[in-house]
């Protein structure tokens, strides 16, 4: 009788995963170091190391630590958050076209931010009010979509969630247009916020978003096995004893938490949450136990480089990074669609 050495297959798999994780982590660290040298003025690596270990002139420290490093770290966090949220959404909806914004939270957050910008509430510089409103409206949107989709028995069908997301998202988009129309002088501010960018990155933002992103990511990763089981089919998962409704809700909440934490400080950066998990799945497979870490690290690396482009491609100016991720992400995604058509796989 043909048998199978399950143990060795598993061990090989775990070893492979370990290598991937270590490799990507190393790539992230290298990316950070390299991108620290790039900027309006290119600073050599030795100087970077000197500053990071406590030396360097005041201006060098300002540029490297306060400007570049805070921005790179925030970028890595946001990239990781959006990628893991995207992976989670693609898992919950069993749809490789899902993104963190599939339930309309981006429009909701934009509306919240535009209210804060136009009404100027929160007094000082909108550094508090805009992220806060964006964050709150992310969850408000999720709450709306979820409540609309609930059936009598407390069951929440996935298709209804998607439809409700489209509807609620469209509604908030219209509201945002309304805000823009009446915004007068703040129109440009709203438009820039929605394009998504890291030019206002500060360490305090890193401090606030970090725990939320870590928490949400941890929850999602710990539910990897359940996500795997969900992939086979909702019915199958139920038969295997999973409380599908509950797990879906928890994952949606965790994904929304990291998305909200990212969006609050950087606006609507698109395509990261869609493309990174997709690519990760093609490279490391569908098992969420490795897909999640790969998405996290891949998203971080991607965003670090994208933002480096954003702050250097135009002389003297900042290009909102959301524009770059869309400009690069969309053609790449088209390429994925075309090749997917050929192989009909994920």
């Amino acid at each position: 009788m043909v048998t199978v050495d399950v143990a060795s297959i598993q061990n090989r798999k775990y070893a492979r995963w370990g290598t991937i994780t270590i490799g990507l982590s190393a790539a992230l660290i290298i990316s950070i170091m390299v991108c620290l040298t790039i900027g309006a003025v290119n600073i050599p690596v030795e100087k970077i190391i000197e500053v990071l270990s406590g030396g360097g002139t005041r201006n060098e420290r300002q540029i490297i630590i306060n400007v570049r490093l805070s921005r790179i770290v925030l970028g890595a966090l946001v990239g990781a958050a959006l990628a893991v949220a995207g992976a989670a959404m693609q898992g919950v909806f069993r749809n490789p076209m899902a993104s963190p914004y599939v339930l309309g939270v981006s429009s909701g957050a934009a509306f919240g931010a535009s209210i804060a910008i136009v009404l100027g509430i929160g007094g000082l510089s909108g550094t508090v009010s805009v992220p806060l409103m964006a964050f709150v409206f992310c969850f408000l949107t999720l709450f709306l979509v979820y409540t609309i989709s609930r059936t009598k028995g407390g069951y929440v069908p996935v298709e209804t969630l998607l439809l409700a997301g489209i509807a609620v998202g469209a509604f908030f988009t219209a509201l945002v247009s309304l805000m823009k129309y009446f915004s007068g002088d703040q129109l440009t501010a709203i438009v820039f916020w929605m394009m998504g960018g890291l030019w206002d990155a500060k360490w305090i933002q890193v401090g606030i978003s970090l725990p939320m992103i870590v928490l949400g990511t941890a929850i999602i990763w710990l539910l990897s096995r359940d996500l795997n089981t969900l992939m086979v089919g909702e019915e199958h998962a139920l038969h295997l004893g999973l409380n599908v409704n509950q797990i879906r809700l928890v994952i949606l909440l965790a994904a929304s938490l990291v998305t909200a934490a990212a969006v609050a400080f950087t606006g609507i950066i698109g395509f990261v949450g869609l493309v990174i998990p997709h690519v990760a799945r093609l490279l490391v497979g569908p098992d969420h136990r490795i897909l999640i870490p790969a998405s996290i690290l891949g998203g971080a690396i991607f965003m670090v480089w994208m933002d480096t482009l954003a702050r250097t491609v135009l002389p003297m100016a900042e290009l909102p990074v959301g524009i770059i991720t869309a400009l690069l992400g969309a053609p790449f995604f088209i390429y994925l669609i075309i090749s997917r058509r050929r192989q009909q796989g994920w």
């Binding site: 900027g39 309006a40 201006n59 540029i63 306060n66 002088d185 820039f192 702050r311 003297m316 100016a317």
Partner: protein, 303 residues
């Protein structure tokens, strides 16, 4: 740079002479003729009494000329101006203007910005028999010229107003025209009304900074854009100017740019956003800037 300042003053003077000459074109009895910025000559048999002004700059000029009782309609930007009489209708944004509402006001003159995107709108208006005058002031020079011509249009003498402004401008320029590059104060200007963008050459703000004895750290760029943080730090501005509608304060700039000169010397100033426009108030902006940028030269301008 000094040459430019001299040229500016010279052309202003020349414009004054020329415009004095043409002034109120009363070749025919009671006929008023104005050449707008399209190069088109618009004729009126009498000074218009029912004016729709689609631009806050124009509305401000009309108010400054004390002719605001002839206004019947303004656009949304003019609706908030103080000095606007009761009963003037707010027509909303020009780009989504309702022709019906406009015609309902029975205007005998429509003043509008000569933007490319308003071309078809202007055509429609003229097609409906409305008299349209399109101006596009971009700097100090053209603002004064616009004021002159609007004075002609209204049959009102703008000379006093323009002369007064010119005198104040010249008072500033006289002291700053000869400043060397090193004597000029470097400025970083951030416009909250444009989403936090800075400005380069070719804009009114840039010109005012120059006339006030400063130099815009981003004068080598054009138009408006979001300034790169590192670039600002590297160019080390001595002064930072924001609009008073901006929520950003010294602490914010300290957090963002660290210890650039403007932060260390506590030279972050807030300017009235309404003065950085091509209207009579630009002299206020000029004087504010002059005092902030060259306080030793302009002690009399201290607030």
């Amino acid at each position: 740079m000094t040459v430019v300042a001299v040229l500016v003053v010279a052309s202003l003077a020349a414009a004054m002479v020329l415009l004095q000459g043409t002034g109120t074109d009363t070749d025919d009895e009671g006929t008023i003729s104005v050449v707008d910025d399209r190069g088109k000559t618009v004729n009126f048999t009498a000074a218009p009494q029912r004016i729709v002004s689609l631009g806050s700059s124009f509305t401000e000029i009309i108010i400054a000329l004390d002719e605001s009782d002839r206004l019947v309609g303004v656009d949304y930007s003019g609706a908030a101006l103080s000095g606007l009489p009761e009963g003037v209708v707010d027509l909303g944004k020009t780009s989504s203007l309702s022709m019906e509402a406009l015609i309902g006001l029975e205007p005998d003159c429509v003043i509008i910005w000569n933007f490319a995107m308003y071309e078809s709108l202007i055509e429609s208006m003229e097609g409906l028999g409305l008299k349209v005058v399109a101006f596009y002031p971009k700097n100090v020079d053209s603002t004064l010229s616009t004021m002159e011509r609007m004075g002609d249009l209204l049959g009102s003498d703008a000379t006093e107003l323009v002369d007064g402004m010119l005198a104040r401008v010249n008072a500033v320029v006289a002291k700053t025209a000869n400043l060397t590059d090193a004597q000029r104060t470097s400025v970083y200007l951030e416009l909250a009304s444009k989403g936090g963008q800075t400005t380069g050459n070719g804009t009114l703000s840039n010109e005012l900074i120059y006339l006030a004895g400063g130099k815009n750290i981003f004068a080598n760029g054009t138009g408006y854009w979001l300034a790169n943080t590192e670039e600002v730090i590297m160019r080390n501005p001595s002064v930072i100017v924001v609009e008073n509608s901006s929520a950003r304060d010294l602490q914010y700039f300290k957090d963002t740019y660290g210890e650039v000169d403007a932060v260390v010397d506590d030279r972050v100033y807030r300017i009235d956003a309404g003065t950085l426009t091509t209207s009579p108030r630009l002299v206020d902006a000029l004087e504010d800037l002059a005092y902030w940028l060259q306080p030793e030269l302009f002690p009399e301008l201290a607030p």
